[in-house]
C-alpha cells in the first residue's frame, strides 16, 4: 500500500518533538503539527532526501462542528514520487487562519481559495485570496457545519414557479417561492474585477461561460496585448452544486449517484473512486469478490475509452476536423449501448457499489464487449491516419502548452496531463486497486509535455485499456455464474447493503481514489466515530487541479492556442465545480 510506514513517521517524531501521530489500524497514519511549525515541517518533508514529499495532492479543511475549539483543521495530503508513499499532515486553524502554502506548491493557490470560499479560513500571505466557486459578494461559507443543507432561502423567484398551475399541487410536493441567493449582474462585475486586480489592457476578453469551445460553463478572462495573452484567469463555479455538502447528509451508497453527475463523461470511474475509498476505510477492499473486481476493472477501462473518445472527437472538432467527431461518436454509441444493457443507464451509471456491483452481467454482455474490443483497433487506426501525422495537426499541437515535470509536482497534476510530461504517476500501478495488480498493461509517458504528447498519451491509453478489457474478459469467462458479485461481511459490526440502507462507515480517515480519465479523483473521508453519514467527504478533483495550470500555460501565447491547451488538459466542468 502506498502509505508512509509507522517507522518513518516515528523517525519524524524523533527529529521534531512537536509531531503527533494518529495511528490507524488500517495503515493510514497521519501526523499532526502545530500551526507555528507547520510550514517549516512541510518544507522539510518536501526537501529532505529521506522523504521527498514533493508532489502536492490536496489541501483542505475539516470542520469539527460549532462546539469544537479550535474548530477547523487543515489537512494536507502529499505524495512522494521517489518512495511511492503518501502522507497526511494536519494542523489546527486557530483563529480561522492558516499560513499559505502557495510559495511551496503552486497548486495550493486554488485549494486555498476553495477553502476560503467554503469554510472561511483566511490564508496569510496568499496573493489574491478571492472566492473560488461563489461570487465575491456571497455572504456565507457553505461547507461550514452550521450552514443548512437547504441554504438560506431569501430571494423571491416567481419565474421558477407558475402560479396558477402550481397552486393545485397539494402537500409537500409544492415548490417554495423563495430561493437561495443568486448573483446579480453587479455581483458578477465585482467578481470579474477582483479576479484580475492588475489588468493592463483596456479590454478584458471574455471567453465563456457559455461557449462550445469551453466544453461546459467555464468563464475565461484574457488580458490581451494584441493577439497575445499577458494574463489570464478563470472563473468557475457556475455548475457548483455542493456535492461535498450533500454527501455529508447521505449514506455512502447514496453518494454514488451524485458522483455520476460530476464527471458525467466517465461516471463509471467517479463511482469507482468512492467505492475504493469507502472500502479501504472499512478495510474490505482486498476481500471484494473476484468477479466484482474484474467486472469493475473491465467497465472502468471501457469507460476510459468512452471518455477519451469524447475528448478526441471534441478536441479535433475544435481544431477544425469535423469528421473525427462523427467517427468517435459512432464508437461511443456502442460503448454506451453496452453500459445501458449492463447497468441500466447510458450516462449516469451508478452500477458500482461499496462492496462490489449491484447486479451480475446480463446474458451476452461479454460477447458484446468482446465484439467491440475486436473491432476497436482498426477504428483507432483510422483516427490516427487522419490526425497523428497530419501537418495541420502537428503545427497546432507541437510545442503548445509545455508542462514541465516540476509543474506536475507543484501543481499536483495527475492523469494523462502528468504522464505526458514524463511523470509515470498512475494510481492503477501505485495502489493496484481492484484487479489492476493482476492485469498486464503499460503506462504511456510522454517526453516534452506539450499538447502533442498529451494527444499521443491518451491515444496510447486507449490501446492499453483495450488490452486490459481483453484480459478481464478472458478471466471472467472462466468464472461461474454462481460466484458472488457483492461482498457479504462476516463481521457483525459491519453492515453494507446493495440498496444502501444502513450502510455504515467506521471511525477513521482515509484518502484513496482511482485513476480517472481526467486525473486522480481522490476521496478523503473523515469519520470521528462510526456512523452512516460521513463527517467530511472531500472530493479531490483531478480536473480541478489540472485546470489550474491553464493560466500559466496561456501567458505569452496567442489566443488561438487557448482551444488547444484547454482541450488537451481536458477538464470537465461537472468535476471541477463539484
Amino acid at each position: 500500500m502506498s502509505w508512509i510506514t509507522l517507522d518513518k513517521i516515528k523517525k519524524l517524531q524523533e527529529q521534531f518533538d512537536f509531531v503527533q501521530i494518529n495511528e490507524s489500524d488500517k495503515g493510514f497514519h497521519s501526523v499532526e503539527v502545530p500551526k507555528e511549525n507547520f510550514k517549516q515541517f512541510v518544507q522539510f518533508l518536501k526537501e529532505d532526501p529521506d522523504y521527498r514529499f514533493k508532489m502536492f495532492i490536496d489541501w483542505t479543511i475539516v470542520d469539527h462542528g460549532q462546539k469544537a475549539d479550535p474548530r477547523f483543521q487543515g489537512v494536507l495530503i502529499l505524495f512522494s514520487p521517489e518512495y511511492k508513499e503518501r502522507i497526511i499532515v494536519k494542523t489546527w486553524a486557530t483563529e480561522e487562519t492558516l499560513p499559505t502554502l502557495t510559495d511551496i506548491w503552486a497548486g495550493a493557490k486554488w485549494a486555498e481559495r476553495e477553502a476560503w470560499d467554503m469554510f472561511g479560513i483566511k490564508f496569510e500571505g496568499h496573493q489574491n485570496l478571492v472566492r473560488m466557486f461563489m461570487w465575491e459578494t456571497y455572504p456565507y461559507h457553505p461547507l461550514r457545519k452550521d450552514f443548512p443543507l437547504k441554504g438560506y432561502e431569501e430571494v423571491e423567484l416567481p419565474s421558477l414557479n407558475e402560479k396558477e398551475r402550481m397552486d393545485q399541487l397539494e402537500g409537500l410536493q409544492n415548490y417554495s417561492r423563495m430561493h437561495t441567493a443568486l448573483p446579480t449582474l453587479e455581483d458578477l462585475e465585482i467578481t470579474q474585477k477582483k479576479r484580475m486586480p492588475n489588468k493592463k489592457s483596456q479590454v478584458v476578453l471574455n471567453w465563456g461561460p457559455l461557449h462550445p469551445g469551453t466544453h461546459g460553463t467555464i468563464w475565461f478572462l484574457f488580458d490581451m496585448e494584441g493577439e497575445y495573452v499577458q494574463e489570464c484567469d478563470i472563473i468557475i463555479g457556475q455548475l457548483h452544486r455542493g456535492v461535498e455538502k450533500l454527501a455529508e447528509n447521505l449514506n455512502v451508497q447514496q453518494i454514488i449517484p451524485y458522483t455520476d453527475r460530476m464527471d458525467y463523461i466517465a461516471s463509471m470511474n467517479e463511482n469507482h473512486s468512492v467505492c475504493v475509498a469507502a472500502e479501504k476505510l472499512l478495510g474490505i477492499h482486498e476481500k471484494i469478490p473476484e468477479k466484482a473486481k474484474y467486472i469493475r476493472t473491465m467497465l472502468a477501462e471501457l469507460s476510459r475509452i468512452n471518455s477519451h473518445l469524447l475528448w478526441l472527437g471534441t478536441y479535433a472538432l475544435d481544431l477544425g476536423a469535423l469528421t473525427m467527431f462523427l467517427y468517435t461518436f459512432r464508437e461511443r454509441e456502442k460503448i454506451m449501448d453496452i453500459f445501458e444493457g449492463i447497468t441500466g443507464a447510458r450516462f449516469t451509471i451508478n452500477y458500482f457499489r461499496v462492496g462490489g456491483v449491484y447486479a451480475d452481467l446480463p446474458y451476452g454482455a461479454l460477447d458484446a464487449i468482446e465484439h467491440f474490443i475486436k473491432d476497436f483497433p482498426t477504428r483507432l487506426n483510422d483516427y490516427e491516419t487522419l490526425l497523428t501525422r497530419n501537418r495541420i495537426w502537428l503545427r497546432r499541437n507541437i510545442d503548445v502548452g509545455i508542462i514541465t515535470e516540476e509543474d506536475v509536482y507543484s501543481y499536483g497534476l495527475t492523469g494523462a496531463v502528468a504522464r505526458a510530461s514524463g511523470v509515470p504517476y498512475d494510481l492503477r500501478i501505485i495502489d493496484k486497486y481492484d484487479a489492476y495488480g493482476e492485469v498486464e498493461f503499460d503506462v504511456p509517458v510522454g517526453e516534452k509535455g506539450d499538447s502533442y504528447d498529451r494527444y499521443l498519451v491518451r491515444i496510447e491509453e486507449m490501446k492499453q485499456s483495450a488490452r486490459i478489457v481483453q484480459q478481464c474478459i478472458e478471466k471472467l469467462r472462466k468464472m461461474s455464474k454462481n460466484d458472488p458479485f457483492f461482498f457479504e461481511p462476516e463481521d457483525k459490526k459491519m453492515k453494507i447493503t446493495i440498496d444502501g440502507r444502513g450502510t455504515k462507515l467506521f471511525k477513521g480517515e482515509v484518502y484513496a481514489g482511482a485513476d480517472n480519465p481526467r486525473g486522480e479523483l481522490g476521496v478523503y473521508i473523515f469519520m470521528p466515530k462510526d456512523g452512516i453519514k460521513p463527517h467530511r467527504f472531500r472530493l479531490r478533483s483531478g480536473a480541478f487541479y489540472n485546470l489550474q495550470i491553464f493560466p500559466k500555460l496561456m501567458v505569452g501565447r496567442p489566443i488561438a492556442d487557448a482551444i488547444t491547451i484547454l482541450s488537451t488538459i481536458d477538464p470537465v466542468v461537472g468535476e471541477t465545480d463539484r
Binding site: Q254, E340, T348, Y363, L366, L386, K448, G500
Partner: protein, 233 residues
C-alpha cells in the same frame, strides 16, 4: 507492467520530405473519408425509428400489481406490516417506505397508508391499505436505489423515457398512473425482465437481439449474444 514512452521520434515518425511535397498525409486522410462514404447509414431515424431500451433500462417508475409472480416471502411481508392481503390486480405496495429510505432525495415520495374503516368482526379489521403514493419525478435521478430496496418488487423501472411536460405538475405521478405504467410495461416486456418469482433471471439479455434499430447503430454488424460464464447455458 511497464512504462511505454510515446512522442515524436519515439513511436511516431515525423513527416518525411516526400510526404510533405506530395501531401501524402492529406491523401491518406481522404482515403479514410472516402472509404466511409460507401458505408451504410448508421444513424437511427428518431422518432420514426426507435431503439428499444435494454431490459435493465432505468426509466420512469411503475408500481406493480399482484399478478401471481410475487416473491416467496410476499405474504410474510404483508402480514408483518398489517396490510390487507391484496387480491389479484391490486397493488403490491405494502407501504413499508423502504424505497423512500433508500432514496437519496426522499422528498420525492409521499407514501401514506390508511386503516380500513370496517366493523370489528370483519376479518380486515385493524388492517391498512395504501391510500397515497405520489412521486415527484422532476427530483429523481433514476439511480435505481429505490427499486433495489423494495422487498416486494413493487416499485420498478420501466422502459419509458419520455417524461417531458409543460408544467412541473406533469412530473408528479400518483398511484393510479404509476400502476398503469407498470401494468403496461409488464404486459409488453415483463418476460424479458423478470422470472416467475420476480427476480432478474440469469438469462436476462443485455438487449434484444432482434432490434434492427440497435443493429444499425452497431454498423449493421451487431454482436451475437452467448453465455458469459463457463457454466452458463
Amino acid at each position: 507492467m511497464g512504462i511505454k514512452k510515446v512522442g515524436l521520434n519515439r513511436n511516431v515518425q515525423p513527416q518525411t520530405l516526400t510526404e510533405k511535397i506530395f501531401f501524402l498525409d492529406f491523401m491518406k486522410g481522404l482515403k479514410t473519408t472516402i472509404k466511409h462514404l460507401f458505408r451504410k447509414v448508421i444513424t437511427v431515424d428518431f422518432p420514426f425509428e426507435l431503439v428499444e431500451p435494454a431490459p435493465r433500462f432505468r426509466g420512469v417508475h411503475g408500481l406493480r400489481n399482484v399478478d401471481g409472480t410475487e416473491k416467496e416471502d410476499f405474504d410474510a411481508w404483508v402480514k408483518k406490516l398489517k396490510i390487507k392481503p391484496p387480491e389479484m390486480g391490486e397493488t403490491r405496495c405494502i407501504a413499508c417506505k423502504f424505497c423512500q429510505a433508500a432514496c437519496p432525495v426522499p422528498e420525492i415520495f409521499i407514501i401514506k397508508a390508511e386503516k380500513l374503516d370496517v366493523p370489528e368482526d370483519h376479518p380486515h379489521h385493524g388492517l391498512k391499505v395504501l391510500s397515497q403514493f405520489d412521486m415527484d419525478l422532476s427530483k429523481c435521478m433514476f439511480c435505481g436505489l429505490c427499486t433495489l430496496a423494495c422487498p416486494t418488487v413493487c416499485i420498478i423501472h420501466t422502459d419509458v423515457y419520455d417524461l417531458s411536460s409543460y408544467t412541473r405538475r406533469g412530473w408528479v405521478l400518483n398511484k393510479e398512473t404509476l400502476s398503469k405504467i407498470a401494468d403496461d410495461f409488464i404486459a409488453r416486456r415483463g418476460k424479458e425482465k423478470y422470472d416467475e418469482k420476480s427476480h432478474w433471471p440469469d438469462w436476462q439479455k443485455i438487449w434484444d437481439e432482434a432490434d434492427t434499430a440497435r443493429a444499425k447503430a452497431w454498423d449493421n454488424n451487431p454482436p451475437k449474444l452467448g453465455p458469459n460464464y463457463a457454466d452458463q447455458q
